[in-house]
């Protein structure tokens, strides 16, 4: 350190011997830089940084790379994602120096060259050695905050960009197409030709209702040669009641829907939500009615606060959005945190709960904003009795329910009286037993409410406390460490400068209005992105629940804004948004590959083709049932058991979701985790998915049903049988080679199916539950569901059944292209 540094240029050379010494002083004393040091900085360092680094590492950057700001002293010292850029006085341990020296293949700056001249590198080294004197005092935190709130795209005011000019105006049917095409043409790419009609109707039908088209629907579409043939298909599908079951499920992912509370203190509490399903039904209905999205938001936050004219008891169920979350063993602060999470991620694409203990590390969300929302939800509570949402009670079923319920109430009263008595006596043993009995009583109440067909449905509402109150900031999230009280109000970053405190009770309704306000541009952006994602497999923003600074830039920012603006203009109608998207050429592209394009844009972010998408578990299971003719189209109502035999053949959305023990078949197929708002499911490929298709009785029974259908039995020859199965399963005729494969397979089947069905494999394993124990509805919930995986002996498949089963297993049945 005290040795003179190597070569230093011109004027400074004479200063050399002093520099190391000086650096040591600067560091040890934290002294102000001397004028000559500052001169060195201004002459030799600042210009280098401005010319070579600021493009990516300063306020001037479009996007700051690596979280590193080089336009302040603080930024250099704090550094970016990989650590401090410089260690004052120690160039050999300074990443900045390592980067400009180009000796580390992983760290080279400027990244695309040219390398800085040796003399400049030497200047930088000297500068670091002298303690990196630097007059630029703004702090990065300030800058980050300012920079983001100023310029981050997601919270810029929403304007409606004009569709750009394009060359191939024939292809660009709608404004949507122009935005997509302009980007493609920029890269010299052409969109794929349109998909054939069979592919298109299959794609549209799965997208909108989560089921395959029937052969008759395909025929009708093929025959319809009118220019608006596809438009008619889209409108028919949007009008189908199955639409709400498909899109409602997407929303339930976001709403972290579950029929249970999560972990509970088993001695004290029953884990079931007997009425969560009333929220699920509300969601399905809302989608089917094309309820304006802004109203959908308002109802889910504050249906109870709407004027009486618009309030109806069914809509109260909307509040389930807030209340079907985890109960966190009744830790109130965690419950509130979960509600803030679902509201902010779900509607706003913001990870506000990061600010529970500290200011958000990346987004301009200070802790006090978190506690502004905290005050809203800490001013609410669930009522002791949830309101009944049907008017007319009565009938024999109801009497039955009523009697059972009253009996349980009576038992409860008795037990509670006994408890008081025992407490007085201090008999611990008896006390424990009575507590257990009480708990069992509670479970029976829950089960009765959950399963009795005449138990009156109730809305899982939230109500304002009589005295709403602002919350103090809890420093570091610690309830025992209260900071200043903050008013209940909306997030500053989205308020557009106007941010009145909430005054209407808890402020839930005010919050809802702020979320749907014109001042707040992010709500329509987030929704449009979600819808686009479910049509294309990927949204403009690939993280649908996080539009913050850490999200990647949107692939088509202008198109996103255009759609968001149109969405508002169209009265927040989601169905109109579907139409706008689906009637565009970009939606109707084929999914054919183009090896050259695949090199240029392997992720297909520019949408030169349609993405091939795997069906989610719901669509897969429902379509298998539909293909087998086994789908029970009954809508709404109490949850059913889809896990164990006899399987319910209702649509999967009606299956019970137990967040503390999610059915393995759901987990294996990447079902949304009901503990967190989930805008995008994982997409994994694992052997258990194959096992479901290969071995699940649910799947195999569909193959048997297909072959048992009169239409199949009426087919005169092999070829027409194969054709029937292809039409039914894949909505297309088989190709000659496929017919050949099928015929050969059937022909070469063993004479009579072997019965050597490996008895060992079929015998129930000891200490498992006996095979014939019926899976009763009342066993739903964590105590039930023990009948899973019970092995039975079954008749071997006939060759045609086996063939049909193979068709159900093949990829074509699991993918949309």
């Amino acid at each position: 350190m005290n040795k003179p540094p190597f070569i230093l240029p011109g004027v400074l050379r004479q200063l050399c011997p002093a520099l190391g010494f000086l650096a040591a002083i600067v560091r040890s004393l934290g002294a102000e830089p001397t004028p000559s040091q500052l001169q060195f900085f201004e002459n030799r360092i600042r210009p280098v940084l401005v010319q070579n680094c600021y493009k990516c590492h300063s306020d001037q950057s479009e996007k700051v790379k690596g979280g590193l700001w080089l336009d302040t002293r603080d930024g250099l010292l704090k550094g970016g994602d990989t650590g401090p850029a410089i260690v004052s006085g120690d160039p050999e341990h300074s990443l900045l120096i390592r980067a400009v020296r180009y000796t580390d293949p992983d760290l080279q700056m400027p990244p695309k060259g040219p390398q800085l001249p040796d003399s400049v590198v030497a200047d930088l080294v000297s500068w670091v050695k002298m303690g990196a004197p630097d007059p630029r005092t703004a702090t990065v935190a300030q800058k980050a905050r300012t920079e983001s709130s100023k310029s981050h795209w997601a919270w810029q005011p929403l304007r409606k960009p004009s569709p750009p000019a394009v060359q191939d105006s024939g292809w660009a049917r709608t404004p949507v197409d122009k935005f997509v095409l302009a980007k493609l043409e920029e890269k010299g790419l052409k969109p794929n030709p349109p998909a054939d009609k069979r592919t298109l109707i299959r794609r549209a039908t799965f997208d909108l209702i989560g089921l395959p088209p029937t052969p008759a629907e395909v025929e009708a579409f093929l025959k319809d040669e009118s220019p608006d043939a596809f438009e008619k298909v889209v409108d028919r599908l949007l009008a189908s009641p199955h639409y709400g079951e498909r899109w409602g499920r997407h929303w339930l992912d976001v709403a972290r829907y579950s029929d249970t509370k999560g972990q509970v203190r088993r001695q004290r509490e029953d884990p079931t939500y007997p009425f969560a399903w009333t929220y699920r039904d509300y969601v399905i209905r809302s989608f089917n009615e094309d309820k304006p999205y802004n109203l959908f938001i308002i109802e889910q936050l504050a249906a109870d606060k709407l004027p009486a004219s618009t309030r109806n008891p069914t809509n109260l169920c909307a509040l389930g959005f807030l209340t079907v979350g985890d109960r966190f063993m009744e830790m109130q602060n965690d419950i509130i945190n979960d509600r803030i999470d679902v509201v902010t991620k779900g509607f706003l694409g913001l990870t506000v709960t990061c600010a529970r203990c500290h200011d958000h590390k990346f987004d301009p969300i200070p802790t006090k904003d978190y506690y502004s929302l905290f005050g809203v939800f800490s001013s609410c509570a669930e009522p002791k009795f949830e309101p009944v949402i049907v008017k007319n009670l009565g009938g024999p079923d109801y009497s039955d329910y009523y009697k059972k319920r009253m009996d349980l109430e009576q038992e409860k009263d008795t037990l509670e009286a006994k408890l008081r008595e025992l407490r007085r006596k201090g008999d611990r043993e008896a006390l424990r037993n009575t507590l257990r009995d009480l708990r069992q009583n509670q479970t029976r109440v829950s089960q009765l409410e959950l399963t009795h067909p005449a138990a009156p449905p109730r809305a899982m509402v939230l109500e304002d406390l009589r005295r709403p109150h602002d919350s103090p900031v809890l420093i570091r999230g610690d309830a025992g460490n209260k900071g200043p009280v903050v008013p209940r109000q909306f997030l500053e970053v989205l308020s557009g400068g106007y941010r009145p405190p909430f005054t209407n009770g808890s402020g839930r309704l005010d919050l809802a209005w702020a979320i749907v306000s014109k001042q707040n541009p992010i709500t329509p952006r987030v929704l449009v992105n979600r819808v686009w994602q479910h049509h294309f497999g990927e949204g403009f923003v690939s993280t649908p629940d996080d539009f913050g600074m850490r999200a990647e830039q949107p692939s088509h920012p202008e198109l996103l804004d255009y759609l968001a603006a149109r969405f508002e203009e169209d009265g927040w109608s989601i169905k109109k948004l579907h139409r706008l998207i689906m009637l565009s050429s970009v939606y109707q592209e084929s999914s054919a590959n183009n090896p050259r394009y695949a090199q240029i844009d392997p992720e297909n972010r520019l949408l030169w083709r349609a993405n091939i998408r795997r069906l989610e578990f719901e669509a897969l299971r429902d379509s298998l049932l539909a293909i087998g003719g086994d789908l029970d189209p009954t809508m709404y109502g109490r949850p059913v058991d889809i896990e164990s035999e006899p399987f319910s053949t209702r649509r999967t959305i009606y299956g019970l979701v137990d967040r503390s023990d999610i059915a393995d078949v759901l987990v294996n197929f990447d079902f949304a985790n009901p503990d967190l708002p989930t805008g995008k499911r994982h997409d994994t490929t694992v052997p258990q998915q194959a096992l479901f298709l290969m071995n699940s009785p649910l799947v195999i029974e569909q193959a048997k049903r297909l072959v048992a259908l009169p239409e199949f039995q009426a087919c005169p020859d092999e070829e027409s049988r194969i054709d029937f199965l292809y039409q039914r399963i894949y909505q297309r005729p088989p190709r000659p080679e496929e017919i050949k494969l099928g015929s050969e397979f059937v022909a070469s089947a063993p004479e009579s199916p072997t019965t050597s069905n490996n008895d060992a494999a079929v015998r129930p394993i000891s200490n498992e539950i006996s095979a014939d124990r019926p899976m009763r509805f009342a066993q739903l919930g964590p105590q039930g569901r023990k009948g899973r995986g019970v092995m039975r002996k079954r008749a071997p498949l006939k060759s045609w059944e086996e063939y049909a089963h193979a068709l159900l297993q093949a990829n074509e049945a699991s993918f949309v292209n």
């Binding site: 999914s591 985790n673 503990d675 994982h682 096992l691 479901f692 494969l741 008749a795 093949a810």
Partner: protein, 491 residues
């Protein structure tokens, strides 16, 4: 006959007889590698019918799409690592929830002195550990009383007391520990290891994640293959289910005999080939093909591996008949069968309050099972070839976190935590690194997640900068652009 590719359908799975474990591995060696050299070769082997249909002409280069499909079809065949290494298997016990290091492996007497008082330069009041530490083994390393059985084995352990991470939020940090990325979808550690080493048993998944019900934060991100080929994805198993048939749902076909099912599955593959001629999603479709093949084999082999009733009573008792006891025993059965990487979820360590009561419960859940596991591996001569990792996603603060409760706990702390290593290639009976006087931050020989990953790969025979995968025009690696091997922990 056995190795004749056309006979594959007949022998695959059906004639497998459970032998002794080593024989098991030997006999069942390269199978998938035979099959998945290229898709075309695969077809030639399995699909006589396709040739006759003239399909070969359809399988031109265009069909194969990217070159990757033709030349680099992923395989699970075992591979030797580039560098010499002792560890061949990994068992990663994930103490999710962030265990308090100052109450388990990192004693801080200063906290007792300052108990209830402010710590200089820090917010909040110090909280002494409610647990006693005691010197254990020949090495005399201090271990908390909450780990009595593991304490006895301390001479086999390396205790890294200077771990630190980036973001103290459970989900992000959990996924970070498992993938090396806080922001992007990246392959998990197990997937990288499987990619680098393949696996010894071609009839079992090479990477298995065991969870006692529920799903951990981050879900499948923690065992995902991300952009690595799908067959390196971990297979997540719910061990809470009451029997083998429930542990792996639909593990058995109740209708179709295996030989017939083999014939059917060959047809499925042929149908898939015809269907995918025009499509690009090679990687995913390829992964599906492999998933079906693996599923087929698991029908006969996996049930046995997960069937704890095949263990003697004494063994079950040694591990303890508890969820974690069962998981560790299954882990041993998997390692024995040549599974490359086993992830074991043993979470519940998020003790914001009631730490005195609740932390020992969690510790007790894993203490006996993990100690039994280590002893059992030693008896079977598997300890030296198995790297055992125990640890969470970050640590906890030395100060009280009351969080609305009079019985305090500790809040999140990304700046310090402890990870414990044992087994293959690890220097036992040693402590590496140190936190400050109060355990607030790692200060000496700090070890970042990337450094830990680099070290794990080194123990398995890899230079972490060279185990790369080209994706989207760039070579990716587990440690991104960081990571230093912590050589002092290597034996």
């Amino acid at each position: 006959m056995r190795n004749h590719p056309l006979a594959w359908g007949v022998w695959c799975g059906i004639d497998t007889v459970m032998g002794s474990d080593n024989k098991y591995i030997r006999d069942h060696s390269p199978r998938l590698e035979d099959l998945f050299v290229t898709r075309r070769q695969f077809l030639q082997r399995t699909g006589m019918g396709l040739g006759m249909l003239g399909l070969a002409t359809l399988l031109g280069e265009e069909f194969l799409g990217s070159k990757v499909a033709a030349e680099e079809i992923a395989t699970l065949a075992p591979k030797a690592p580039p560098l010499p290494a002792k560890a061949k298997h990994v068992v990663h016990i994930f103490a999710q929830g962030a265990p308090s290091h100052v109450d388990t492996w990192d004693p801080k007497p200063a906290l007792a002195q300052y108990d209830g008082k402010p710590i200089p330069g820090m917010d909040g009041l110090a909280m002494a550990s409610p647990f006693k530490f005691e010197k254990k083994g020949k090495s005399g390393i201090e271990v908390s009383e909450v780990f009595p059985k593991l304490g006895e084995l301390v001479d086999d352990l390396t205790v890294i007391r200077s771990m630190y991470t980036d973001i103290p939020a459970h989900e992000v940090a959990t996924v970070f520990m498992n993938t090396g990325s806080t922001r992007f979808s990246r392959p998990s550690l197990g997937s990288w290891v499987l990619y680098g080493l393949g696996t010894e048993n071609q009839n079992m998944p090479g990477f298995i994640s065991l969870r006692p019900g529920g799903t951990p934060p981050g879900g499948s991100s923690n065992w995902q293959a991300s952009f690595l080929p799908g067959l390196y994805q971990g297979v997540s198993i719910n061990t809470k289910a009451p029997g083998v048939n429930q542990i792996i749902g639909n593990i058995r076909n109740q209708y179709t005999p295996l030989d017939e099912q083999r014939r059917q599955l060959d047809l499925v593959h042929q149908l898939n080939e015809l269907h995918s001629q025009n499509l690009q999603k090679d990687a995913q479709l390829e992964a599906r093909l492999q998933a079906f093949e693996m599923a087929f084999k698991m029908q006969t082999e996996a049930t046995d591996a997960f069937d704890l009733r095949k263990e003697p009573d004494a063994m079950r008792d040694m591990y303890g008949r508890t969820p974690q006891g069962n998981q560790m025993l299954i882990a041993r059965r998997l390692i024995e069968r040549g599974v490359r990487f086993v992830q074991v979820w043993a979470g519940g360590w998020d003790h914001h309050q009631d730490i005195e009561e609740r932390l020992p419960e969690r510790a007790k859940e894993i203490d006996q099972p993990l100690a039994a596991f280590i002893n059992d591996l030693k008896q079977r001569n598997l300890f030296d070839s198995t790297l055992v990792i125990w640890g969470g996603e970050f640590g906890r603060k030395p100060v009280k976190d009351r969080n609305g409760n009079d019985n305090p706990g500790r809040d999140h702390n990304a700046k310090a935590f402890t990870t414990v290593l044992a087994g293959g290639g690890v220097r036992g009976g040693s402590v590496y690194g140190a936190t400050d006087e109060f355990g607030a931050a790692a200060v000496e020989n700090k070890v970042h997640i990337h450094d830990l990953h680099a070290t794990i790969l080194a123990l398995l025979g890899f230079d972490h900068t060279k185990l790369t995968y080209r994706y989207n025009g760039r070579d990716f690696r587990l440690t991104d652009v960081a990571g230093q091997v912590v050589t002092p922990v290597l034996a």
